[in-house]
Amino acid sequence: MLTLPEKVVFAVIVAVSLGYFTYRAFVLVRLIRRAGKPDPEDRLHDLGARMTGAAIDVLLQRRTFRKPWIGSLHLLIVWGFFVFAVNTINHFAGAFLPGFNLFGQTFLANIYAATADLFAVLIIAGIAGLAFRRHVLRPDLLTRPSPESAIVFTFIAGAMAAYLCAKATEMALGKLPNAEWHFVASWLARGFAAVGPGPLVVAAHVAWWCDGLMHLALIGLLVIPTKHVHLVAGPFNLLFRRFRPRGQMTTLNLEDENAESFGVSRMAEYSWKQLLDLYACIECGRCQEFCPTHVSKKPLSPKKLVVDLKHHLLSNASPLLRGDETGALVGGPIAADAVWACTTCAACMEHCPMAIEHIDKITDMRRHLVLMESDFPETAATAFRNMETAGNPWGFARNDRAAWADGLEVPVMAEKGGADVLYWVGCSGSYDDRCKNISKAMVRILKAAGVDFAMLGEEERCTCESARRLGNEYLFQMAAREIAETLNTYAFKRILVTCPHCYNTFKNEFPAFGAAYEVVHHAAFIQEMIESGRLNLETNGGPLVAFHDSCYLGRHNGLYDAPRRVLASAGQKMAPVARDREKGFCCGAGGGRMWLEEHLGEPINVLRFNELTAGGADCIAAACPFCITMLSDAAKREGQDTEVLDLAEIVARQLSL
């Protein structure tokens, strides 16, 4: 096919390009190895499960299929990519060995010919579909204009078109052995045959070169890099994905005398996995679709965060590779307001097809601001001080902690010594007039079910979960040790909590501090009591109820069904909710935001309140004191008298006497 000068030129181009690409790939790998610190999690343990999971996610596109249409189009391109990897080898080798085929002259070669033609068309269709979505449907998730996407789209579709033309012209010249199997190219070949032998030879050479160079360009786009790099970085990111619970933050060793700094202020303080995350991002925007800060028009979008970090990483590659210090992230590529806006609701991590860990990137930056710079929102200082000195965020007296239970005859551990169930009331349940009702309802339920329980009373203190998420690791660890010490003096089988934040802390974080106990959230506990026949509820119905999924119950810990089953058992009629379960929308109080003012954008709780009541609900049910506070505030703000109730309150109301 090629003339000798062409072969020489092609050989030089391929050699130089591949040399450069190899060098670039080496730089990219070296950048995360050199700039990234060791990751606190063992990213290789359970390798079998990791490989299986990554293979399913890549080959079957399990994660992209959450949006079935996009997943389907993307699947065509992914499979097409594997098909065309073979073609690239055939094409490049064919330059020097005319007629080269990895499958030789076998029947397999015929099958492959048909498959490649089919996928060339499917890939073009896939690209056209995705381009249509981006440029005509214009969903908010996608960046527009996006030169990178335009380039990637053009080169992929162009490479497919060039492939078909190259095959068609070859066929028209009568040089393609298994012509009848190239069912698409053969159709095009009829058109090419009409141009006459002279122009046909020229067309064949042009098509051949286009095909070769387009493929080369696609490899180049991987390593320059454009976001195209996700197709190499992505599978590795899925392989090294987080196995520890989503709700478990890393533990800082605050006693490490060699540690010069805590948290992350500069790029080189992230772990290698955090940096690999940046390469893996394809900028699909699924992370921001259910993100409360993005939707409420605040300066944080998880997508923008990752993309800005990626650009900062790549533009600082030289100093990072030399080991030189690079600029501060907060106040540089990342706005302080963005760092403090996050509610850690995990909508981003839930929906990211690449399993990127957004929350840790933010909480690591908060840790540095709090522990090293003492630079945090003023109102957080009040909460920190109160949690530290009074053991609750509002600064109420410790010895008033059990006052809510006066006259209710709630057993206290210090007097009882042990019980089946330790009822952990939590700060809201102990001090907040609104949430004391939840505690009282819970006590009624426990007594109705005949449970042997006791609370800690004045020995209880705040878990400092929100302080940890605001970056105050020191305060959290102090509280964790103190609580572990208290718990370890009593005998009980499990801990019952009515707060998902306490739940997550007991389940995922306290075991590392010597308090490894079975913990149960009251949604699951009440379900268990109902299903074992220990609770009998009236099922006379009531108002139409919209259930609000709390992030730390649902997305962080997978408890979606228990609260719904409890409501069903209590005979509640459920109203439809637009965003629920995995797609649930945060109330705005997570991640310590409960203690901060919301000055930017729209109020998240009002957005959520209006969404919950849109289906005609007269009552909102939730299973978290923070959610209840936020949604009650929103109801007042909107001038609505919609009831906002905890599951326990609804169940207590339905108790058969």
Partner: protein, 321 residues
């Protein structure tokens, strides 16, 4: 030897300047020394007439446009040089933010002793000062054993005493030739008349129950009548009825006044966290079930549009009937 009083000004002479002069005069009399005073500022105009009868012998009047605002470098240099020149036995200033900084700097410059924030000073063979310690639970009498001795006097505790209308001899002086490390470009004042929330002895707050920003004048009238600062709950701030700087609560200001009047505030926990250490809490709310009634000392169930103007009238006109 003489006694030197520092007369503080902020555009005009502050009342505490006259108090400081009065206190210094008693010290001077008991010590048998003459009283001198220093004024540092722009041209005082006819304000100096206020000094009549305060018993000041000489006033060193450093008047220059460059001295209009306080700068540590210039003020310290003036006072320190004057103390040396007069061989002053006692230097008295006011325990204001400005006075405390100035006197601390002068004391450091001259390496002399200073007692800050005194409520009383007198002479007993040396300078005696009385100051509250342990958050006011104890009064300490401090004997200053060296001269010169310095003290700052807390404002509003010393009566101004005049005797006749003799004016001091005025010694005009200019700005010192010192290089300044800082230059004040502009002084931006907060709204005149506003009382700082966290320092206020009395606070009147409004919440969602006030219905809208048009109600603030009703509350402000009560504030003016009892000398209170205006506060607000988070709900009122969220509704953009008032600036966030007025917010009292967990995420606003933490106040502990002697009197806290909560109008139309339900008393959610986040609000309680900002005012629960108030000494007396008065709640006015239409809803008898509002949680605020559990934490108040006096509760008035009623329409604040009736109750608040009534309270204002009672305070301004006295009780009738």
């Amino acid at each position: 030897m003489s006694i030197l009083a520092i007369l503080e000004q902020r555009g005009t002479l502050k009342p505490c300047a006259l108090e400081t002069a009065s206190a210094a005069r008693r010290v001077a009399r008991d010590a048998g020394l003459a009283l001198d005073a220093v004024y540092i500022g722009a041209d005082p105009g006819d304000q100096l007439s206020q000094l009549a009868g305060l018993g000041i012998r000489r006033l060193f009047c450093h008047a220059d446009p460059a001295l209009e605002h306080y700068t540590n470098d210039r003020h310290v240099s003036i006072v320190a040089d004057l103390v040396r020149e007069l061989n002053a036995a006692v230097v008295l200033g006011s325990a204001t933010a400005l006075g405390k900084e100035l006197c601390a700097s002068v004391a450091a410059r001259l390496d002399v002793d200073l007692t800050q924030d005194c409520v009383e000073v007198w002479w007993d063979g040396g300078l005696m000062t009385r100051k509250p310690i342990y958050a006011g639970k104890v009064l300490a009498d401090v004997r200053m054993t060296h001269v010169p001795a310095m003290a700052t006097l807390r404002p509003n505790v010393t009566p101004v005493e005049r005797d006749g209308d003799a004016m001091p001899e005025i010694v005009m002086r200019g700005a010192p030739a010192v290089s300044c490390r800082t230059e004040l470009k502009e002084a931006v004042m907060t709204a005149a008349g506003a009382i700082e929330l966290t320092e206020a002895k009395r606070v009147v707050s409004g919440g969602r129950g006030i219905g809208g920003p048009e109600t603030w004048p009703v509350l402000q009238a009560l504030c003016d009548a009892i000398g209170a600062a205006l506060g607000a709950s988070r709900a009122a701030v969220d509704a953009k009825w008032i600036e966030p700087s007025h917010q009292v609560g967990q995420t606003g200001k933490v106040v502990s006044p002697d009197l806290y009047v909560a109008c139309g505030i339900s008393g959610a926990i986040q609000h309680q966290a900002g005012m629960r250490t108030s000494r007396i809490v008065v709640a006015i709310n239409k809803d008898a079930n509002a949680p605020v009634f559990k934490i108040c000392d006096y509760g008035i169930v009623g329409d604040l549009f009736e109750v608040v103007p009534l309270l204002t009238r009672v305070v301004t006109e006295g009780p009738k009937g």
